[in-house]
């Protein structure tokens, strides 16, 4: 049906319908009689880092920091991250795990804030002239205000509203079909105008054909209030919806209003619809007109066990026990404490009342045992199909249940398990008291975990096969090398050369030959190129980071990590040494002094090496462009100080050339490389830092080993040198090694002692 005729139809008050649904007792009068009230601050606030679908941001504060009300606590460049803000001014007393508002009751990262009671705001930057600003600015402001869907799952709002597709209908969801909850009802009654302002902003952003404000018929005051607030807008239409659960489900509401169905695995925008909750509209208006981030929300405190039920403005992070105290919880009405976060149909029970209120918490329900008896044990399904009649998604819950219970997960998927919206209508009507939804959730979780495991096992298989292939290839190469070496030895025997000069020349020739042999070999191995590239990238990234802090800062930066400094200086020395040897053996005259053993020299060498690596990284990054799984980011990092690098690269041109040549060989020789460093590079920031360090260490160690190898090919025994160059730092490490060996020995002795 065209947009216009749909609109006219709705205007005439004619709706469509959706299948199934139930009519549980509403019990809304319990909490909707009084105006939304404020609560005193709790003594502690627990702000969960992740309060929405997506990923959590990085913490921007430390323990002990003073924060101001509205100050941003987390940030992340990831578009799926939404920041959280300090709900009031105070001190960050702890950052760590704390019970989450989640059905599992498992703890999550949480920032604990002790309020100072001053409620001092941070500087706010409202943009009341939003219509003059580019849309991206507005969306950014909404994102920065930490707004995610406040009705259901908590989808980040800025993602929803940056849709590129045409929006025919913007639906504002004020249905609130769950029994007991009245937060949106009161919000619409009291703040209709601000909601309207929020809608205006959304309209400005999305430019929809029409705005439908859907409100269930059991909220006549809210309907009137919204009608009044929107009466000057001909394209805003308030649509009363017949009271039936789950009329407020996103999919059901669209079907009810427009007779359109969101395709499976699709989004409402696929049928030209964007839906926002009224609470979200309110928060958007707050964010734009007064610059306030989302730090509090309306929560319905209700249930027969509370003496003062009602709606309250609750700062996010307020622990539930505080709410219960404020609403005068009567524990005698419950045999065992039962606190439901959310409504009676879709809410979840809390494991502890320490759990905080989060952005999606619209209700805390504490029923009495009498008003909401605990269901008896489940009985056999009698196939009465009452559940199928109630299912708004037209599923066959009894079949889903059957297969979910028998753990026939595939069959359950055949019956479209994943189209279940977990509304609970089926379990509500089931005469056998079967916790149907619980079975579905478990089956869904199992399927998801199975899929993850499948992916993991596929990856393990690939890695296993890659490793086997590599081992095989290496064995062959070794064989070939041995054969070649034997051949050459034989030739050398034939023309006895006692001139040491000749010996060196022969060795050089061998090295040359080996290099040349290795090179054509390595080029077709794109895989290994990639590996080398990844290693170099990781290295370059780290060095780039160091370079940014300034060249001399390298030492000082390292200094605050003594162990790292030790390792690095040892590596730097090793490198310097190797380069010296290189200079000798290749007879390339360089300004480098032959025996580079003092630290100053080493540092300089290390800088040169860094430049080389950067240059190499740049080249490798170019090479890696055609590598499908390569992550562009580290390469970009490497290019940051291009100018710097270019200059240094020139300085080290000769070295670079020699090294580049050997590089391919190196990759070949590295037994512990293969695919993982390449994958390392893909791992996101947090991990990458650590892994990159490891990879860098690995690459350097390899370089060191190469140096040793080079030394041994010239038949000059530098091994003792190696040891003599050990200074205190090295010694410390040696001591550790010794200790470890001792431990190992002890272990062995123990094992031998063992009679078996």
């Amino acid at each position: 049906m065209s947009m216009e005729s749909l609109f006219n139809r709705l205007k005439a008050g004619r709706l469509f319908s959706f299948p199934g649904g139930v009519k549980p007792p509403e019990r809304k009068a319990l909490s909707n009689q009084t105006a939304i009230a404020a609560l005193p601050l709790p003594d502690k606030l627990f702000v969960s880092l992740k309060q929405h679908i997506g990923v959590e941001g990085k913490v921007q504060v430390k323990e002990g920091d003073k924060v101001l009300k509205g100050q941003v606590l987390t940030a992340s460049p990831n578009p799926f991250a939404v920041p959280v803000h300090a709900p009031t001014s105070g001190t960050v007393t702890r950052i760590g795990l704390h019970a989450a508002a989640h059905p599992s009751g498992l703890p999550e990262q949480t920032i604990e804030i002790t309020p100072d009671g001053l409620g001092q705001w941070t500087t706010l930057s409202p943009i009341p002239n939003y219509a003059q600003l580019p849309k991206m600015k507005i969306i950014e402001a909404i994102c920065n205000a930490g707004i995610s869907g406040m009705g259901g799952a908590g989808f980040p709002t800025h993602l929803k509203i940056s849709s590129k597709k045409d929006v025919e209908f913007l639906i504002i969801n004020g249905v609130e079909c769950e029994p007991y909850i009245t937060a949106d009802d009161r919000l619409m009654r009291e703040h209709a105008w601000q909601i309207r302002q929020g809608i205006d902003i959304l309209v400005h952003l999305l430019n929809p054909g029409a705005v439908l404000i859907a409100i269930e018929e059991n909220k006549p005051e809210a309907i009137d209030a919204m009608r009044v607030a929107c009466k000057d807008q001909s394209r805003y239409l308030v649509c009363p919806i017949p009271t039936r659960y789950p009329a407020g489900g996103e999919k059901q509401l669209i079907q009810n209003l427009l007779d359109r169905e969101v395709p499976r695995k699709g989004l409402p925008i696929d049928v030209g619809v964007i839906m926002q909750n009224v609470g979200t509209c309110y928060a958007i208006a707050d964010a734009i007109f007064s610059g306030k981030p989302l730090i509090e929300r309306v929560v319905t405190l209700t249930g027969e066990s509370l003496q003062a039920p009602g709606n309250y403005w609750v700062p996010l992070g307020t622990p539930v026990y505080h709410l219960l105290n404020q609403a005068k919880y009567v524990s005698s009405l419950q045999q065992k404490k039962r606190i439901i976060m959310g409504g009676p149909m879709m809410g979840f029970t809390l494991h502890t009342d320490l759990a905080p209120v989060v952005k999606t918490s619209n209700c805390v329900l504490v029923p009495s045992d009498q008003a909401m008896p605990l269901p008896p044990d489940e009985q056999s399904c009698i196939r009465c199909a009452a559940c199928a009649d109630a299912c708004p998604a037209s599923l066959l819950p009894q079949q889903l249940y059957w297969h979910a219970k028998a753990n026939e997960l595939e069959r359950a998927q055949d019956f479209n398990l994943f189209d279940c919206i977990e509304c609970g209508a089926c379990a509500y009507v089931c005469p056998s008291d079967i916790p149907l939804v619980h079975y579905y959730r478990r089956a869904k979780a199992d399927i998801r975990i199975q899929e993850q495991e499948k992916q993991k096992s596929d990856k393990a298989r690939q890695r296993f096969e890659a490793r086997n292939a590599r081992l095989e290839r290496e064995a062959e190469e070794r064989k070939a090398k041995h054969a070649e070496a034997a051949e050459r030895r034989r030739q050398a025997m034939q023309q006895p050369a006692d001139n040491p000069q000749d010996k060196i020349a022969a060795a050089l020739a061998r090295v040359q030959a080996k290099k040349q042999a290795a090179q054509p070999d390595a080029v077709p191995e794109a895989n290994e190129d990639k590996v080398a590239a990844a290693i170099a990238r990781a290295k370059a990234k780290r060095e780039a980071q160091q370079a940014q802090t300034g060249e001399p800062a390298k030492a000082s930066a390292l200094a605050d990590d003594p162990k790292k400094a030790q390792v690095a200086s040892a590596i730097a020395r090793a490198k310097a040494k190797r380069e010296a040897q290189q200079a000798q053996t290749t007879e390339t005259v360089e300004s480098a002094s032959p025996a580079a053993s003092d630290d100053a020299e080493a540092a300089k060498k290390a800088r040169v090496a860094a430049a080389v690596a950067r240059a190499k990284a740049k080249r490798d990054a170019e090479k890696a462009d055609d590598a499908p799984e390569s992550d562009a980011q580290p390469a970009e990092n490497a290019q940051i100080d291009d100018a710097d690098a270019a200059k240094k690269a020139r300085v080290a041109a000769a070295v670079a050339k020699a090294k580049a040549k050997r590089d391919a060989e190196k990759a070949d020789d590295a037994p512990e490389s293969d695919a993982q460093p390449a994958e390392n590079a893909q791992i996101d920031d947090v991990d990458a830092a650590k892994k990159a360090r490891v990879a860098a260490a690995l690459a350097k160690a390899k370089a060191k080993r190469d140096a040793e190898k080079a030394a041994s090919t010239t038949e000059t025994n530098h091994q003792p040198d190696d040891i003599t160059q050990v200074d205190d730092a090295e010694a410390a490490k040696r001591a550790r090694v010794k200790a470890a060996v001792a431990r190992a020995k002890a272990k062995k002795a123990q094992q031998q002692d063992d009679p078996s």
Partner: protein
């Protein structure tokens, strides 16, 4: 009598042809058996089945070995294999059917002496490090096969159970007892 027999024979022939045709016409082109079996194995590559990895075991099953030798897969894998091979599922070879808790290796990095022994043992290259450098396990790649623990001369590798977090929580609300009554 004769006609009846002839008719019966003809019918039998006709149906036989039909069936034969159907078998050809609707033949399911599947992966080779080994691939299918391999896809069901957990790919832990631990060798507890007596073969050097999952694929060799898959080949062995295809050649008629028992299907119940993979402890990491547990009963679920045996059941899947039984379905695939069209045989009865049997209990795990050598006892315990309890699915073990999933684990990953963890190297106590300050004790590691960088001997690279663990790297050589790891079937999936989940350990990075170099000679005399600290080694570390890439947790996301580790299959928990245990093979790196034994070779370590300083005993610095632990197998730590994977924690249940919100993402891998299986909705077991322990306190609710779902009892079956019928």
């Amino acid at each position: 009598m004769i006609t009846a027999l002839i008719i019966l024979a003809l019918l039998a022939l006709g149906f036989g042809l039909l069936l034969g045709y159907a078998a050809l016409r609707f033949k399911v082109e599947g992966d080779p058996l080994v691939e299918q079996i391999d896809a069901l194995l957990p790919q832990t590559q631990c060798g507890q089945c007596g073969y050097p990895g999952c694929r060799p075991y898959a080949e062995a099953i295809a050649n008629g070995d028992e299907i119940n030798k993979c402890p990491p897969g547990g009963e679920a894998t045996i059941k899947n294999l039984a379905d695939l091979m069209g045989v009865e599922a049997k209990p795990l070879h050598g006892g315990s059917t309890e699915p073990e808790v999933k684990k990953v290796a963890f190297i106590r990095e300050d004790e590691c002496i960088g001997c690279t022994k663990c790297i050589q043992a790891c079937p999936v290259d989940a350990i990075v490090g170099a000679t005399r450098q600290m080694h570390t396990v890439i947790t996301s790649e580790c299959t928990g096969c245990d093979l790196c623990v034994e070779p370590c001369p300083v005993d610095c590798i632990d197998m730590v159970p994977i924690k249940t977090g919100i993402t891998n929580w299986r909705w077991d609300l322990n306190p609710i007892a779902i009892k079956q009554v019928d």
